[in-house]
């Protein structure tokens, strides 16, 4: 097979088509403190300035030779724009929403500001995508990100209040989700207009909190609609234990599912039954953060042996991840290809 461009490779993998080699791309984030220093773009400024954001995001290609760029590092940009109380933290920690002080109580409170797309914390992403498109041309795919309504609900209502509401008043919960979905579409479309080739949608109906039936009842139809409405491939991301809901996710028509290390690659492949591509799932807190190059490569092998289409860390990588462990992901793919060639 002829050598593919990074974009061809990633898009083919997302459509479960043959590739020249397995791609490596993190649909969530590859920002580290070392790279922040290399390009002088530290957090939290790199989350709030398009120029710094693009500089830091570009290292995914220039330093690690991954196959895509993902400039939206965290999960809080739109929540900041709609008025959630923010904790921006410092260089080596993630900005978060103060969910202990939620801004809304009911579906009737949900209001999208008319200037949402002009808010600096939203514009930073769309402007960064434009900068990156200009700098890297058309052969490198840019993966944007827009939060799904479930995750937005956690942020605006608070996790406990929202989950209590799913039992106390499921109709109101659906109403809230449908209203928050407007933000998902607004931000997602804006990123596509700016040049994003793919969108990641984190929507945390995780097995750590809710059952697979919850996913089916509250989110499956919403995600099915997303698969039809967005004009680019969609990667759904849900952290935690999710193998029980992967069959429902696989039926949505979404292109890919980015899965957590709490689910083994093989059981994930079995659960989706070739109806959706898989992205993942190298463990972050133990393997990438604390272990060695050889441990990283072993997980790469496990993913490739199972048939995972895009190799990636399981989620946004720990900010203090050592660079050698990220290089090890790409090297792991090369080693695996060499080993498999020998066998054939």
């Amino acid at each position: 097979m002829n050598k593919m461009t990074k974009k061809q490779r990633v898009l083919a993998a997302l459509n479960r088509q043959p590739v020249d080699r397995p791609p490596v791309a993190n649909p969530t984030s590859v920002a580290t403190v070392e790279m922040m220093d290399l390009v002088d773009a530290p957090f939290p400024e790199a989350c709030r300035s398009a120029e710094l954001n693009a500089r830091l995001a570009g290292t995914e290609i220039t330093e690690f030779d991954f196959d895509a760029i993902a400039p939206y590092f965290s999960i809080i940009q739109e929540s900041s724009a709609i008025g959630c109380e923010m904790q921006w933290e410092q260089k080596d920690n993630w900005p978060t929403v103060r969910m202990s002080n939620p801004i809304w109580k009911n579906a009737s409170d949900v209001k999208i500001p008319s200037n949402f797309l002009d808010h600096p914390d939203v514009k930073v992403i769309t402007d960064s995508i434009r900068i990156l498109r200009n700098e890297f041309g058309n052969d490198v795919p840019i993966i944007g990100k827009t939060m799904g309504p479930w995750t937005l609900a956690y942020h605006v209502f608070g996790v406990e209040a929202f989950l209590l509401g799913t039992i106390d008043n499921p109709e109101e919960t659906m109403d809230s989700l449908n209203k928050l979905l407007e933000i998902t579409y607004l931000f997602g479309e804006a990123q596509i207009d700016a040049g994003a080739d793919v969108l990641t949608v984190p929507d945390h109906a995780t097995g750590d909190l809710v059952s697979a039936q919850y996913y089916q009842n509250f989110l499956q139809d919403i995600h099915t609609e997303m698969a039809e409405k967005f004009s680019v491939p969609i990667i759904l991301h849900i952290c935690g234990r999710t193998v029980d809901r992967m069959p429902f996710i696989a039926d949505t028509g979404l292109n890919a599912f980015h899965f957590d290390s709490k689910n083994s690659p093989q059981e994930a492949m079995d659960a989706v039954n070739n109806k959706i591509a898989l992205v993942g799932n190298i463990n972050n807190p133990e393997t990438l953060y604390s272990k060695d190059v050889d441990d990283v490569k072993k997980e790469v092998f496990d993913c490739l042996n199972a048939g995972v289409q895009i190799i990636a860390p399981e989620c946004a990588i720990p900010l203090k991840t050592k660079s050698e462990n990220l290089i090890a992901i790409t090297e792991g793919i090369t080693d695996w290809l060499a080993e498999n060639e020998k066998k054939n």
Binding site: E160, L163, L164, I167, G207, D208, L209, V210, S211, Y214
Partner: protein, 247 residues
């Protein structure tokens, strides 16, 4: 015997033999009134728990009995269902809300002090376990009974138990776990105290929804508290035993 049909149905979710025995025996000796409270808690019916708790107190049922035979029996089944992924966090939250609705009436009665100090206890949930409902109830009961209790919180490593032991010199260390996966850390903590030569200096007690007497014996614990009230009784026994051993 199980007089409440709904509660009997809920009990079917308890499938491990040792748990069936321990939770089953605990419920079987309670009255219908207490079983009603247990069931309402499992259903997350906070209004009923509130009403039934008040009614039973007015009828002269003790706060201890309502706590152990009503609320905690219900919570033990909630704990099993959560651990076995029958229910998830939303369902646990409504049960916890129901528990609080009952505790609002019981806490002032249970916390009343004026008793002679009986001894010092360190309480912690073992490493990896972030659940503290059971631990907090035990602490409340122990303080109510006259113990000085230091709360080490959740996710307590063997070294942290040892360190706190050095700081407070307690008579008893109480370890709690809600997850079967973290229960072995009770054994590790006990082993750690052996390794550092402190085993003879303190009495080690274990408790929590998945814990049984057999498990406690296997781990080498000195005592097992199968309920918050039982924990208090056992703690009193262990303090007396430690005094004898050291004299």
């Amino acid at each position: 015997m199980f007089e409440h049909e709904g509660l009997l149905k809920e009990f079917q979710w308890v499938t491990k033999e040792s748990e069936k025995k321990h939770i089953g025996e605990s419920i079987a000796k309670t009255s219908l009134a207490m079983q009603e409270i247990s069931f309402a808690l499992i259903q997350g019916d906070n209004e009923s728990v509130d009403k039934l708790t008040k009614e039973n107190l007015e009828n002269g049922i003790s706060a201890n009995e309502i706590l152990d035979n009503g609320l905690l029996n219900g919570m033990s089944i909630v704990g099993v269902k959560f651990r076995d992924n029958i229910i998830f966090v939303p369902e646990v939250l409504i049960s916890a809300r129901a528990m609080k609705a009952g505790m609002v009436h019981l806490e002032p009665i249970l916390s009343a002090s004026g008793i002679e100090p009986l001894g010092t206890v360190l309480m912690g949930t073992v490493k990896g376990d972030l659940h503290d409902i059971g631990k907090n109830l035990c602490i409340m009961m122990l303080r109510g009974a006259g113990f000085t209790v230091h709360d080490l919180g959740v996710d307590t490593s063997p070294e942290a138990f040892e360190d706190a032991f050095g700081e407070h010199g307690p008579d008893i260390i109480g370890m709690s776990a809600l997850l079967t996966t973290t229960m072995p850390n009770m054994g590790r903590t006990i082993q750690h105290f052996e390794d550092v030569g402190l085993r003879e200096e303190v009495r080690l007690m274990v408790g929590g929804a998945p814990v049984t007497q057999e498990f406690a014996d296997e781990m080498g614990a000195d005592a097992y508290g199968e309920s918050a009230v039982d924990a208090v009784d056992k703690a009193k026994e262990q303090v007396a035993l430690l005094k004898d051993l050291k004299s």
